[in-house]
């Protein structure tokens, strides 16, 4: 098993290939918030406090359109509902830590830190110290995210939208999810979730994502129950 320090640096190094998608997204948030009339301190303050890009962009967009604060808060929290599923998925890997040790790990929870960590925890290869691997990935993403938000706030979004670098984000998750589909039950979960996500795209507040995830988890579970009975 890798030492704490080696696990942390392994986590930080795992972040490198996904920066192509993360960095432009952070710059866009910084540039959009400043363009909407948010002060630079506010732009950075929200990024440090909330640290969830899609929710930050949605909240700023709504406030800029004159929506009430309550609507912006509600939308941001519904967009972040998926964090509960990540929290449940990671919790067994962090068992035994004190609540105080768990708090910074929770603060650093993002789509990317989750996906990189769970892929590593479930893969073959030298076992890592799990909380420290996750912490290394999470803190590296955090540092890059905050720096790029500041860059976007001060310089504007320097990368033209026609490059479509936002496409790198789903590619990242694709590279992580394909190896995670290890058996037919997982395949059923992915298939059901993908189809439900297409159908649920019309729902507001990103609710289609949560609905699709629940469909996928249910499908995988039922598939496993049924095939389990067949084996016996």
């Amino acid at each position: 098993m890798l030492t704490r320090f080696d696990s942390m640096t392994a986590g930080a190094r795992a972040v490198a290939p996904i920066l192509l998608g993360v960095a432009p997204f952070a710059m866009i948030y910084g540039a959009v918030a400043v363009a909407a009339g948010v002060t630079k301190a506010g732009t950075m303050g929200m990024s440090l406090a909330v640290f969830a890009g899609a929710a930050q962009l949605a909240a700023v967009g709504l406030l800029a359109k004159g929506a009430p604060a309550a609507v912006a808060i509600f939308t941001a929290l519904v967009i972040n509902l998926r964090m509960v599923m990540y929290s449940a998925s990671l919790a067994p890997h962090f068992s035994g830590l004190s609540p105080l040790e768990k708090a910074p790990l929770a603060y650093l929870l993002t789509d990317q830190a989750y996906a990189l960590s769970i892929a590593r925890f479930c893969a073959d290869g030298p076992p890592v110290n799990k909380p420290w691997f996750y912490f290394g990935a999470g803190i590296a993403l955090w540092a890059v995210w905050q720096c790029c938000v500041a860059a976007g706030a001060f310089l504007g979004a320097a990368i033209p939208a026609s490059w479509e670098l936002d496409f790198a984000i789903p590619l990242t998750f694709m590279a992580l999810v394909v190896p995670a589909i290890r058996d037919r039950a997982c395949g059923a979960a992915a298939l059901a979730a993908g189809l439900a996500a297409l159908a649920g795209r019309v729902l507001p507040y990103n609710l289609g994502l949560v609905l699709a995830a629940v469909c996928g988890i249910g499908a995988g579970y039922l598939f496993e129950q049924r095939s389990g009975r067949h084996v016996r």
Partner: protein, 110 residues
């Protein structure tokens, strides 16, 4: 219309506290309570389900200034990238091939 900074700081504070609570939820309590067996068996499907639900709409549709529409160029590029991910299990290569495929298809279709 410019964002009201009073509203902005309220939204920031409440969204930050709420988001932290969502993130902390199971990480905090799973040691303290015993989960039903069905729930622990569902946990292993979370990565495949949630990540696929993020990926599929993002590669089939494209949201630009004009709204969201079906984008066959992204769908095609994503199909190529998925094949690379399946065969090589190599993330940098998957991202590079997917982006290159999108740019190439856009260039050829333009």
């Amino acid at each position: 219309m410019s964002v009201d900074m009073g509203d902005f700081w309220i939204v920031t504070a409440v969204a930050a506290a709420g988001t932290f609570a969502l993130r902390y939820s199971f990480i905090l309590v799973m040691d303290m309570i015993s989960m039903p067996r069905a729930v622990t068996r569902m946990l292993r499907f979370i990565p495949a389900a949630v990540l696929t639900a993020i990926v599929v709409p993002a590669v089939v549709f494209h949201t630009a200034a004009g709204g969201t529409s079906f984008d066959w160029r992204r769908t095609l590029a994503a199909g190529i990238a998925a094949a690379v991910a399946w065969k090589t299990r190599n993330m940098p290569l998957t991202i590079a091939v997917g982006m290159a495929a999108l740019w190439l298809v856009k260039f050829l279709a333009a």
